[in-house]
């Protein structure tokens, strides 16, 4: 989730800097400090979650909503004491 936030923020900053609505993947890679293959995989994921469009690289309204809500989601996760939903089997035993 943190990486989604980093990548979406990088796309937003690129768009803001370029004063347009399209970001260049190479610039996003530089800003997010990720290897290109890894960035490509995350971009695919973000597109499947409908937060971006890839050709050309643009952020959707859902992506903007995620950026706006990121701090709240992080606080919720912290407050509830959870991190990921892959609960270890020993924890699930007895549930």
């Amino acid at each position: 989730m943190e990486l989604y936030n980093d990548i979406l923020k990088a796309i937003m900053n690129e768009i803001t800097n370029d004063d347009g609505s399209v970001a260049k993947p190479t610039r996003v890679q530089l800003r997010s400090n990720l290897a290109y293959d890894k960035l490509a995989r995350y971009l695919d994921e973000l597109e499947s979650k409908k937060m971006i469009l890839q050709n050309p690289l643009m952020i959707t309204e859902k992506g903007r909503d995620f950026l706006q809500d990121y701090d709240r989601i992080s606080n919720f996760v912290l407050e509830m004491g959870i991190k990921y939903l892959d609960i270890p089997p020993d924890e699930l035993r007895g549930v």
Partner: protein
């Protein structure tokens, strides 16, 4: 509703999410103040009525209490009951937590509750009231898991609501993680500065992260 509440409601962050939710989703509503839960449920039903959908509330409490809550959420209860678009379905209390036949019982309850109403349907359920004990929470998770596994077989959406201040505290993180795992969306109906709604899959550890961990392990 006073002016401050009206303002808070107008700017309440999860409302946009509620307005844009896709159909046929299983939604977890967590709250610690009934007022905010009433707002969410009110908006969810209101959106349903606007689309001509039938809304059914599974009530473990007395129907009068639920009607009061719905009114607090801005719903004209008498009007929509009269139009046969709203039903408060009282759940019979039972000590028999028959886990083997859970799916059958769920289906039977659903069929019975929507009799003579027109599809599509929206449900709200606070069916498990005993969330203050380990046994109550275990049963709740089992019920949610069974419902979620078969959710896509039916054409409806449902909000399941829980007062998190009452959840059995010793395993709270595991209960909440399990509840999140068995719903598509979560709405945290808290005070306006903390309230949020999102897709639970955002909290799933993705394959890329697993690869990263593999690299570190090597």
């Amino acid at each position: 509703m006073d002016t401050k509440d009206k303002n808070d409601l107008k700017n309440y962050r999860p409302m946009k999410f509620v307005d844009e939710m896709e159909r046929n989703k299983h939604i977890l509503l967590l709250y610690d103040d009934q007022k905010y839960a009433d707002w969410i449920i009110g908006r969810y039903f209101h959106n349903g009525f606007a689309k001509g959908e039938s809304c059914i509330f599974y009530a473990a409490d007395r129907p009068e209490i639920i009607e009061k809550q719905l009114s607090a959420g801005g719903i004209d209860v008498s009007l929509f009951k009269q139009k046969n678009l709203l039903r408060i379905y009282e759940i019979a209390k039972s000590d028999d937590n028959n886990k083997h036949d859970m799916l059958h019982t769920l289906n039977q309850m659903r069929e019975e509750s929507k009799k003579s109403m027109k599809p599509p349907f929206r449900f709200v359920g606070g069916t498990i009231t005993d969330i203050e004990t380990k046994d109550g929470m275990k049963f709740s998770i089992l019920l949610e898991k069974t419902g979620h596994q078969h959710f896509d077989e039916f054409n409806y959406s449902q909000i399941c609501y829980y007062d998190i201040s009452k959840i059995e505290p010793t395993r709270k993180e595991v209960w909440i993680s399990s509840l999140l795992k068995n719903h598509h969306y979560v709405i945290y109906a808290a005070e306006p500065s903390k309230a949020v709604a999102f897709e639970t899959m955002l909290l799933e550890k993705d394959d890329n992260s697993k690869d990263d961990n593999d690299v570190y392990e090597k």
